[in-house]
């Protein structure tokens, strides 16, 4: 069994009070409880404050380019479907720069877990609006306020029949831990959007702001009803639901791929001698 110490990584360079600290701790707790040892999983991250996440734990790490976590994570799964693969991204990284990949990862239903640290603002580049910034938010780059409609990742997920869509809140660690475990245990692509206050740049969506609004989704709610899920996904404002919004049992991409039915790709040997037969096809 692994203990918390096994996951201890480098010292975070996040701002004191950042919502990411809670996500980090909760994540490690979840991994201890799930008994997944550091070498058994890979965290793929991009750029942004969330991109530094894997350095602060111990695990296989692919800290790549801004917006490109999902293609990397998808291919890691295709090459080695024994490897738990978690993509960690921010709202700018995943919903902005990498939006196209998100859409197609949901379609593929690749068995990747995507944890989005959603603080509704750009942190690393110092306070510009993100796709999830609320309309009207004034920033240095949006002096007239944000004009664009706020992106709703949960509604997007339900619309694309994403096989698992949930929202967590960094200020409710116990609940978030449950969601992390559910996402990891789910068979299929899982989007976990985590509301995470940016204490430095987002003066609107503060801990206080979220605490007044978030509520745990009632236990009788059925996340497998897609129409109800869409209604739930549209809730935002005075009341913001946290919990599993939508879930289905679609076959995963890995399950559908006949090439890796018997063994992960990385374990399959290569035999050059087979080429003799293939060469004959050119005669």
């Amino acid at each position: 069994m692994s203990s918390l110490d096994d996951y201890k990584g480098q010292t975070p360079s996040w701002c004191p009070g950042c919502g990411n600290f809670s996500i980090l701790k909760t994540f490690k707790d979840a991994m201890v409880e799930l008994g997944i040892e550091p070498h058994r999983f890979t965290v793929v991250s991009g750029i942004g404050q969330a991109g530094k996440f894997p350095h602060y734990i111990k695990c296989n790490t692919f800290n790549g380019l801004h917006g490109r976590t999902l293609p990397v994570a998808t291919a890691i799964r295709l090459a080695d479907h024994d490897m738990l693969t978690i993509a960690v991204a921010g709202d700018g990284d995943c919903y902005g720069e990498g939006g196209n990949h998100l859409m197609h990862a949901m379609r593929r239903n690749i068995n990747v877990k995507l944890f989005v640290h959603d603080n509704q603002i750009y942190g690393l580049t110092k306070g510009q609006a993100s796709p999830t910034s609320m309309e009207g938010m004034v920033t240095k780059n949006q002096p007239f306020g944000v004009f664009s409609e706020q992106l709703n990742p949960m509604a997007l997920a339900v619309a694309l029949d994403c096989s698992f869509a949930a929202r967590g809140f960094a200020g409710d660690g116990e609940h978030l831990k449950g969601l992390i475990k559910e996402a990891i245990n789910h068979k299929g692509f899982a989007l976990l959007d985590i509301l995470q206050p940016c204490v430095t740049f987002n003066k609107i969506n503060t801990y206080e702001w979220y605490r007044q609004r978030v509520y745990r989704i009632e236990p009788e709610y059925n996340p497998e009803d897609r129409i109800e899920a869409f209604k739930k996904a549209l809730e935002w404002g005075d009341k913001i639901p946290i919990g599993i919004i939508y879930r289905n049992n679609r076959l995963t991409f890995e399950e559908r791929m006949p090439v890796i039915k018997d063994a992960p790709l990385v374990k399959q040997p290569f035999e050059l001698s087979k080429l003799e037969t293939t060469l004959k096809e050119f005669y």
């Binding site: 480098q10 040892e37 550091p38 070498h39 058994r40 890979t42 793929v44 750029i47 530094k52 894997p54 350095h55 111990k58 695990c59 296989n60 790490t61 692919f62 800290n63 790549g64 380019l65 490109r68 999902l70 293609p71 990397v72 994570a73 998808t74 291919a75 890691i76 295709l78 090459a79 080695d80 024994d82 490897m83 196209n100 990949h101 859409m103 197609h104 791929m257 006949p258 090439v259 890796i260 790709l265 990385v266 399959q268 290569f270 050059l272 001698s273 087979k274 080429l275 003799e276 293939t278 060469l279 050119f282 005669y283």
Partner: protein, 572 residues
Amino acid sequence: MDYSIKIGGEAGQGIQTIGDTLARVFSRSGYHVFTHQDYESRIRGGHNFFQIRFSDKPVSASRDRIDIIVALDKESILQHEKELSDIGQIIYDSSGLKQKHEKPQFLDIPFVDLAIEHGGSKIMANTVATGAVLGMLGMELDILLAIIKNTFKRKGEDIIKANTAAAMAGHDHAVKQCMKCSFSAAPPSKPKMLIPGIEAIGLGAIASGCKFYAAYPMTPSTGIMNYIAGKEKEYGIIVEQAEDEIAAINMALGASFAGVRAMTGSSGGGFALMVEGISLAGMTEIPVVIALGQRPGPATGFPTRTEQADLNFALYTSHGEFPRIIFAPGTPEQAFYLTNKAFELSEKYQIPSIIIFDTYLSDSEWTYEGFDLSRIKYNDYRLRGEAFANLPEYKRFAFTQTGVSPLGVPGETRHLVVIDSDEHDEDGHIVEDAETRIKMVNKRLFKKLPLIKKEIEPPSIYGHSNPEIVIAGWGSTYGVMKEAADELSANLDIAVLHFSEIYPFPPVNKFNYIKTLEDAKMTICVENNATGQFARLMRAETGYAFNRSINRFDGRPFTVESLIGEINVLIR
């Protein structure tokens, strides 16, 4: 025997099928074959052609003189009648083209009527035409009938019978009606292998143990994905059609990180989207092979035509400084072996390799006695299983004598594999300090570069051993330059200097090609681009400047005749 056949028609009329089938009949007859195509960016209509040259001697390019034109549209006659050789014939179906030609070099064959009469459907008209060409050449039908049997085996006995009858009807008709046909095909010999450049790259990837190919379709690179996808199950390869080229390169890197050999491919526009990903490969030292199929740009350019104008792009692509390999095969054979070498060196040195080719090489088919699998190198440079587990500690970017750090496969052992696009320490974690930065640049770039350079083979020289005139080029122009030199060698001491391993630029220690160039009276750099990108690279790397240049940038490949004409102008 040295005949050329041109099949012309609209897109969708089946000229490719006729061309492919005839080329296969000739290669199976043991002839040397060269084919190339000219088509527009459309699925129906327009004017396209497929050209086949076959001979009992080696051929490496098309010629301008055509012996048999199969005209499936009026345009084929309008555009190509003037290309007919002295003994040339045009076959056409006057009822289909709604025009009748009385000149002796025209042979009216009712493709459609014969197809309906003998095959039961006008669909077989192309089979009639194929049979007719073989009849004109005085060739037997046995090979064609075997191909028909194989092609239609899934469609059932009736379809095979119908096509067989159609082929025989076309053959009989030509034998009886072509009074002017004076062709005499050489007796058949041992079948040859027939392969286009694009499939040679795909085959080279498979032969190198490539397990993952991600790409977005784009002419002229799509054929690699098509070919490998057809072998997915047989070889245990995953081919994923990515949502865009950014995803494609990042997928290739993800798969390679996870421990399998990976590749992607595109054309200039898609390659442009991969640029940041290639830089990521440079920083994270992940092996990856990228096929770059050139077509005329800028932007969408001529989507289905050819050019060699992306060499600078490949050389200088991506931000930051890191080593890369660029190979530019001149033939399908080189494409096969150089793709293998690209995989080998990419993994050995943990760097990106680019195979740069173009539409002309992609589509051209060549014949060979065979490919030699004993020349294929396959070394697994990754650290796996017990060898990895037994290491007392592991640092993905450990400083070593060679700059090459152990490439561990994550998941199998307790060791963690950590990589970062930020500057990082030996463990792979983000750093900001200058000292580590300098050490890492030394490791990634300066330590590896001389070792990579040693792996590079010099250019090939063909022709006169002490030439007065050297024509030099790179990539797909090889065949045309060779044939031009053959023809000019009657009156000139001429040689061809061909570069297929372009970067790192080949050193002169194995073959002092600079001396060959300096000893010649005239050196001409032949390039399918406007600005002479290779000539500039040569000058930058060696200080040597070619005396003359021949550049073609109309989107068409050089032809032997046009190149000879331009060389003659220069030496006059």
